[in-house]
Subunit: 180 residues, 2 copies
């Protein structure tokens, strides 16, 4: 990617997250982002069609980091490691989430949080869908999957507001209520 494009993209992301710390997503205008990023109006629109798309791009960037290991693991069709250690995996993801904490906190603060949570859950569905063979008792699998996904996503949201806990703490909290 062209250096200029990278620079612009970075400037926009930084302006955007900076603004999100001060005001609500819906109260931020594209113009404000442009001014904060110190770029030309048409440049912004050359990169992102809308503010929503900018948010999506930012979330994608974050999740690419958070789920990087799990995503690349897919490539190696290594059945011996198929029996994955879900606890370790979760803790690992929590560590990555902690790295992006400032960004995530900004995004989570308002309506943008809903979109973040939605995208987040899309990734979590993939992560968890292999984990619920046994629990089919008398509750629909679909319900259980949604339950686990939401449970974890909300745990993370809660964590972002409570800095005092470590990734291990949160992992423990999460599994204390989960029938894995």
């Amino acid at each position: 990617m062209d250096r200029r494009q990278k620079k612009t993209r970075k400037a926009v992301f930084e302006a955007f997250t900076g603004l999100l710390e001060k005001k609500t997503y819906s109260n931020i205008s594209v113009q404000e982002i442009i001014d904060a990023a110190n770029i030309g109006r048409s440049t912004f629109y050359a990169h992102f069609e809308t503010k929503d798309e900018l948010l999506r791009a930012l979330c994608t960037e974050i999740f690419e980091h958070v789920f990087s290991d799990d995503l690349h693991k897919e490539d190696t069709h290594d059945f011996s490691s198929k029996k994955k250690d879900i606890v370790g995996e979760i803790t690992h993801i929590l560590y990555h989430l902690n790295d992006s904490r400032p960004y995530i906190k900004s995004i989570l603060s308002c309506e943008s949080g809903e979109m973040f949570m939605q995208y987040f859950k899309e990734y979590l569905v993939q992560l968890f869908s292999g984990e619920l063979e046994k629990h089919s008792a008398d509750v629909p699998q679909e319900y259980m999957l949604n339950h686990m996904v939401c449970d974890f996503a909300e745990t993370v949201r809660w964590w972002m507001k409570h800095e005092q806990y470590s990734a291990e703490d949160i992992s423990r909290f999460f599994f204390s209520t989960t029938p894995f």
Copy 2:
């Protein structure tokens, strides 16, 4: 309240929910609501300061219905009924939610859903905060409360998308993963 006000308010709510079935919350302009409700521009602003406030008012109206029994129970300081039957209460609330299903489904569909969920959780915090004395094991109470509140709220959101289940089904699903 003046008949005319009631009429206007009702027209706005109906126009709004009608529009929510067709398009996204953020893509609905105040002008569209005004046109759909067939009222004067200044009349809308005499009733609601912003679109967000309209949404809040609509949610409040719904929750007033959904939680009506529990809210009024507060008045009677009847300690004998203090040992409340949480399962019955939940099922009861689910019945009320089912009554408002069309409205709730419209609201839940997009960003407005985030606000609905937020307000919903405010009520649920009150409902659940008395229920978690014992589970303090090695997880913070605050975490447990958030967990239960989110769990129930997300269960309801899931239910709204899956019409085939009864209130009793959902109650059972909910309690099957909850350590009450």
